[in-house]
Symmetry: D2
Subunit: 268 residues, 4 copies
């Protein structure tokens, strides 16, 4: 028996990648796409270290309207120019952008603040593209599963859950990463579950440790923020790894996975 219940998981295919297929899959990349060059360089680096998918935000939901909101329309153009050899997951924040994003994105992410945006979920249920459904930061597990039901009811069964930390009274970490929820989901539900240790801690120095803990808790993969120069990142630099730290994480992860009788999902 492996950790958790990977054998009952319903795999989700994203191009050449399978999430929840037994192997452990790592998705990595910048919080936000800042330029074609930044994106390409980061994706190249994370692929070299063993990631199988890229992440990168075009539209950022920021609490403060004065903060950087992503490149938005310009980001779509930068992305169209980029040559990536990993499938990309990117957040969709508005149903009206689906058409423009469709050719550029292999998987749509529903962000934590949109988990209850049922108008958006219904629309995504009508697409046939896989969905990375982040847990609302104050969502109970049953509500999260009901959000996945919105997608299913529309006919889209390609749903991957992403635990990214919940809001509690604790403030030493940005969020409280709920790995017990991961263990619980893997015990009882067929969804692939990935963990975001970047948002889950908000602190770069805790990301690697919590990534390993997520693997031990039975997750099917990770979503990790990596930036070529975290201190110059336009958003979330405080929780981003640089490529060297990410490569070190991957090395330690391989060993922990082996001790759990699991292996890393790798692309040829």
């Amino acid at each position: 028996m492996t950790t958790g219940s990977q054998e009952h998981t319903r795999p989700v295919r994203v191009g050449p990648v399978t999430l929840g297929g037994g192997h452990f899959a790592v998705i990595a990349g910048p919080c936000a796409i800042e330029s074609t060059e930044q994106l390409q360089a980061t994706v190249q680096a994370v692929r070299a270290a063993g990631a199988v998918m890229a992440r990168g935000g075009i539209f950022k939901l920021r609490t403060d309207p004065a903060s950087f909101q992503g490149l938005e329309e310009r980001g779509l153009a930068e992305l169209a120019r980029a040559e990536l050899d990993l499938p990309l997951v990117s957040e969709v924040t508005d149903p009206r952008y689906l058409e423009a994003m469709d050719p550029l994105v292999a998987m749509y992410q529903v962000g934590s603040r949109n988990m209850y945006n049922y108008a958006l979920l219904k629309e995504l249920g009508r697409t046939r593209k896989p969905i990375l459904l982040k847990r609302g930061f104050a969502a109970r597990i049953d509500e999260w599963l009901l959000a996945a039901d919105y997608l299913h009811r529309g006919g889209n069964e390609a749903v991957v859950l992403c635990e990214r930390g919940i809001r509690t009274f604790e403030e030493a970490t940005r969020n409280t990463l709920d790995l017990g929820a991961v263990a619980y989901l893997k015990e009882h539900y067929p969804y692939p579950v990935v963990v975001d240790p970047s948002h889950g801690t908000g602190k770069r120095e805790l990301v690697t440790t919590m990534a390993l803990a997520a693997a031990a808790a039975g997750a099917d993969g990770l979503l990790v923020e990596v930036h070529p120069r975290p201190d110059q990142a336009l958003s979330d630099g405080r929780q981003s790894l640089d490529p060297a730290a990410f490569a070190a994480l991957m090395g330690r992860l391989r060993r922990v996975l082996a001790a759990l009788d699991r292996t890393l999902h790798e692309l040829p």
Copy 2:
């Protein structure tokens, strides 16, 4: 001096009604519009008891996709047929419905689950219709104020905040109604603040008491669910008052307001 700081509040006009204008304004009506008849009868009853605005949902955000979601498009038609002599506030859940709702609705409500839906907020910022911005059930006050900033930045300054209870570890009540937040907002910010004791408690028998407490805490008004036959309501019946209980609430409210040197906003 009156309770709170009504004198520094920036009033918001909704047709013949002024929210935050010193007088205490009561908005009441069904959780969801179920038919033209139900809506008209309820609005007539709450107007007779002293309400100055009506509420009624066309599009309902429900956690469970199998629950009643409002009449949706048919609701727009029912509403178009209704003759209401109170301005109506109704929740908008998707920017694409704004055009259809525009002629029917005097004020848009942003529901608790959409407070972080910045795509929606930006769109509403471009309209010139007043907005009732409910607090996200896990939103800190500073995040709620930043959501209001999204509306302002678009040019819409007609924002009324609505406290409707937050999510805590307590389960005896559906939510924890945070009247301290109301007192705090009235002390420091110029927004009109109304309180929703129906969602804030989830229990009919606590609604009146908490409505009076909200007035004492300095609120500028209330948002109350009233249904002709709460036990047959398609949603939220457990927390809806019938017209007689609502009229009793209004009688008690008038007396408490007088003791606070305030008066009820009344239409001729």
Copy 3:
């Protein structure tokens, strides 16, 4: 019918005072006893304004061991010298102090951090002195009621509950004062319930407003921190009223109570 269900409340006598006897009782005084003079002056002032009981801590539970912990043994001596014409409620933090406190204190307070200290509760259950049982700041209502059961099982039925705010994700106020819990308890349980708006908000400027809200929510009384010179208080000065502000509070409270068909408990 009055607000809440005062008619089903089981009154608790504390000397000449009755808590939960229909009348609304105000307990006031300093957070901590700093000297005989400070205590006497404060008690005189709050009595003149209409309080029927005094509060004052001898042993303070402070999160930081470097903070002022109360006068402790010396406080007992200061208290023994004081001539108070109001019964005093004071917190007991250790069963071993009961004997020394017994002749000086009319009611024992169990503080929020000790609500789960069952060794202490069992000991207090064996006394016949009334108990003011504060809610643990993270206690659900059912746990709070079970803490009261610990007292009952020992034979002590003179229990008054005190809502003082719970810990949530909100930080604008020190705690989230849960007046919905007060309304709920008054609807379903026979305990007198008093509200502490000082700890419940942590901010002097919100105390009066929330005191009025507590009355409207159906509470049987208040516990208010008053200090002759709040800015010089050794603890909790930020949330203490001075005697003039307290007198103003009492004036406004009388009017709100009258509007609720209730009256202030007054001593001759």
Copy 4:
């Protein structure tokens, strides 16, 4: 570098055992001591599987006064008769029991509900026995560290922290095990930290997974509930492992520790 910062940890000795000494130490045993035989059999089994310390409650803090409270005085007698070849940690709930417990117990546990019981902490600060300080289930990390300061100020520096889950809005698990707090503490503070996956999940089927995750998060050890027949346990049976499941946990733990360049603390 090993996971976390074991190299900066100040080790705590408990008889032949060292907590925080680089090796990973497992403490296991029943929630409550039910008889000499139950305790002896359990301790023998957990020692055989690789535990280096035993746990077992004499005095249980139970929310409901009608629940089993531990054997109390009789438990002391049962314990005196038991021959254990592991040092025992047991919870102290009342300073007055210290004298009777002293010869029987190698380490005192402060339970989650007593973390704020400063009278008890001060008393324990005067002893020279090591203390296992559980996190209050609603305590922020800074408050937990201040509780440790209470022990230090009395002169007792032998403090081990125990993360056992915090109270949040999530109810699928009994508590939310905060492994991010463990990673944070190991990064910044010199205390040994052990993790209690039994209380942290409340569900037997999640204990092993979360035990492995705790090791990956950098903990110095575990506190695990083991009962010969969990279904007949007088308390917490739902979250107790039987000896076979515990032995399986230990086997998997050894492999994960090796992958982290760490080893299990073992007694000869």
